[in-house]
Amino acid sequence: MVVSRKDILSVFAGAGISVDLSGIRGDDSLKDAGVDSLDKMSFLFGLEEKFNIKILDEDIEALDTIDNIIAYLDHF
């Protein structure tokens, strides 16, 4: 599925994550930007709900940049 950066950021916003990601680049680490493990869990849950997908535990470590997330969702 084709997902945009805007879609990703809207899921972040919907997940109630307080970190400001408006200026983040596609290849910046979300962890380094201040997204902690619980924020990431909430974000992944938001992705699963919005796109009706199941993200496997073994895939989540790689989902640390906007670019990687967009590429990952492209496989669904």
Partner: protein, 302 residues
């Protein structure tokens, strides 16, 4: 009509201070306070057994109500961590320790964070079926028996505690319609490992389950009781972590004041978390009890 008359509680005085463990677990202050929420964890002494925790909650219940052991017609202990290896059942041991009469029916049920809600329904049904007027529901699940203190996933969360809820024909709180469910396929999300006897928890699986099911469950339960969100004064949610409590609160658009978080000083006490929370609402103004509807957002893992 039977219902909850009073709740006795016991929280061991021993504490593990999570602030002293932040460096070891690479957890900063904001994450500990705002996400985990458990600043200290209550921990029983090594020689304190699950039945001892029940006995101490019963002492508190007696102080609050004056209930006499000879009046009690049935008693249930809800625990996943019974005395020794579970045989004899812990309720029989508690029966002896608090001096209940031989005519009193006792049994254990094994459930985790949903235990109080299930237990309420079970004991009330049992009492109604047998015409009983006084029964006690104990919750006591000292996870310190199974938590690996080196495991970041679990050792910052769980604390020990117990409660004794008096169910009687002089209730101050009555229960409405219950709503139950189970997700057996997710049962391995939290388990005691056969190999080492330690608790193992898939935090993401637990979070996803809670985030997807509990809000819907609460809304369905309100409908079943012909209530709206605005009718509820207090949502007594299981105190799993501050993060999940806040997530459910935000998901349902609830006011902060209606969703208390009270576990910061003792931790997630599993089936005791909701009755501990409710006991703190047990103020001197008994009238307020009648105005306070409560909802327990719980769901049962098999």
């Amino acid at each position: 009509m039977i219902g909850i008359q009073a709740i006795g509680t016991y929280i061991p005085s021993g504490r593990i201070d999570n602030r002293n463990r932040q460096q070891a677990f690479d957890v900063d202050e904001t994450f500990l306070v705002e996400k985990i929420g458990m600043l200290r964890l209550a921990v029983k002494t090594i020689d304190e057994e699950t039945s001892d925790l029940c006995e101490k909650a019963f002492v508190d219940l007696q102080l609050k109500t004056g209930v006499h052991p000879e009046e009690v017609e049935c008693m249930v202990v809800c625990t996943q961590n019974p005395d020794e290896r579970g045989l004899p059942h812990t309720s029989a041991i508690v029966h002896a320790k608090i001096g209940l009469p031989d005519t009193c029916a006792v049994f254990d049920i094994s459930l985790g964070c949903s235990g109080f809600v299930y237990g309420l329904s079970v004991i009330q049904g049992f009492m109604q079926a047998n015409g009983f007027r006084k029964g006690i529901l104990f919750t006591a699940d000292p996870y310190s028996k199974v938590v690996d203190r080196q495991d970041k996933n679990t050792s910052l969360l769980f604390g020990d505690g117990s409660t004794a809820t008096l169910i009687s024909d002089a209730p101050v709180w009555r229960t409405g319609k219950f709503l139950f469910g189970s997700h057996g396929q997710g049962a391995s999300g939290i388990k005691v490992e056969k190999e080492n006897g330690f608790l193992a928890m898939n935090g993401r699986a637990i979070f996803s389950f809670s985030a997807s099911v509990v809000p819907k469950n609460i809304l369905q339960m309100l409908v079943a009781n012909t209530l709206g969100i605005e009718d509820i004064d207090c949502f007594a949610l299981h105190q799993g972590s501050r993060y999940i409590v806040n997530f459910i609160k935000n998901k349902l658009g609830l006011e902060d004041s209606k969703v208390p978080f009270a576990a910061a000083d003792y931790g997630n006490t599993v089936s005791s978390s909701v009755p501990l929370l409710l006991s703190e609402l047990d103020g001197t103004d008994r009238d307020s009890w009648f105005r306070c509807w409560f909802v327990m957002g719980e769901y049962g893992f098999v």
